[in-house]
Symmetry: C2
Subunit: 224 residues, 2 copies
């Protein structure tokens, strides 16, 4: 395990708070960071973190290399914040789906189904991010390991919460293993969606959703 002598240069984030806003309301800096995220996510999804160079990221983002280091302390920090950002979006989306189902007074099975759909929508929108997330999730000995752990848990916790509520109100068997079942559900959606994107992208989201719903509700065996 070797670590390059970083000798870190202090990123000048000392500046006063959010500076002026552009017409859109976002700071200029924020817009640059966004462009860098977008460039990094596709490149890293395709090639992996180590095989992707900072020069490539800068070029794809249409920005000078120095800008990358003006905005992020290092390549790994850029990646780490990208992970945080992406999983944050997913978690918010899952939570939203679950709450919506709740507010509409539907059952926990419906909530689960809504979350499956939310997951599919997310993956359809950010396939590269998903790919990269899966590739990194079970790695050990990487700098961003602990960060990843935390955000993963936030996302999975949403699913576990719905399962637990369902057990509590009798909708689900109290013999289910919440943690394992949550992982299995996430895996089901993740892998099915990634396969969908990779091998039959022409299919509709509804189609994929229907197949997963059927599996979830045990309507696989049995006729018709």
């Amino acid at each position: 395990m070797k670590i390059r002598h970083p000798r870190a240069r202090v990123p000048v984030t000392i500046g006063t708070m959010e500076s002026s806003t552009t017409s859109g309301g976002r700071t200029r800096r924020e817009a640059t960071r966004q462009k860098l995220y977008e460039a990094a996510v596709t490149l890293i999804a395709e090639q992996g973190f180590s095989a992707t160079t900072v020069d490539e990221i800068a070029e794809r983002a249409g920005v000078a290399k120095g800008t990358v280091y003006y905005n992020f302390a290092s390549k790994s920090v850029l990646f780490e914040e990208l992970l945080r950002h992406g999983v944050g979006l997913l978690t918010a989306s899952l939570r939203d789906a679950a709450e919506r189902a709740d507010r509409e007074g539907r059952g926990k099975v419906d909530a689960l189904d809504a979350m499956i759909r939310a997951g599919l929508v997310f993956i359809e929108r950010y396939p590269s991010f998903t790919q990269l997330y899966v590739a990194e999730l079970w790695r050990t000995n990487r700098a961003w390991q602990s960060t990843l752990m935390v955000v993963r848990q936030e996302a999975v916790a949403v699913v576990e919460g719905v399962l637990r509520d369902g057990v509590a109100n009798g909708e689900f068997s109290d013999e289910i293993d919440v943690q394992l079942t949550a992982a299995a559900l996430v895996g089901m959606v993740l892998v099915a969606a990634l396969d969908w994107q990779a091998f039959q992208p022409e299919r509709s989201l509804d189609d994929v959703h229907a197949a997963l719903s059927r599996l979830l509700q045990g309507r696989v065996s049995g006729h018709r």
Copy 2:
């Protein structure tokens, strides 16, 4: 300025035949390749392909760097053959489970269940390989992409075959989407097992298997 000893015989590596066998019956070469696979699989699972150096692999295998290149044309070729080797084991194991269930005249649901167990056994035995496989599967633009595609298809085809047979004999609904359902099942097992290994390795395989069986058979909703 190092001066190398002159005076030497030319190696002339023209030979092609498998040389003598050691006591075990395996050639020495085969044993070395096996050691290199084992070293490479853990390192690459932990750090990824690009972040793993050939020097590390050689060191972990207790072999000189030159030996790696004596046995494999390049780092990627080593990795590619490792993938082929590993997925080959998995496919054989799945096929075996399916055929055993068939021979014993059990239904396709049981065959599926047996394959889930076979998958879990495989992952318990080769967690690093599984991890590395998942990390690489959906990447694009990588040298070994096509190889991976082929072996993946071989493995998934086994699951798809059982599903198709089940639809044919009426055990499964003819409305299921074979391809998607197979992917979802694989994902369910993969992710649940990886989570099991990573976050609660103390649990037994039977335990995990039971949780997945329950999910498969739709015994999640409904009480008891």
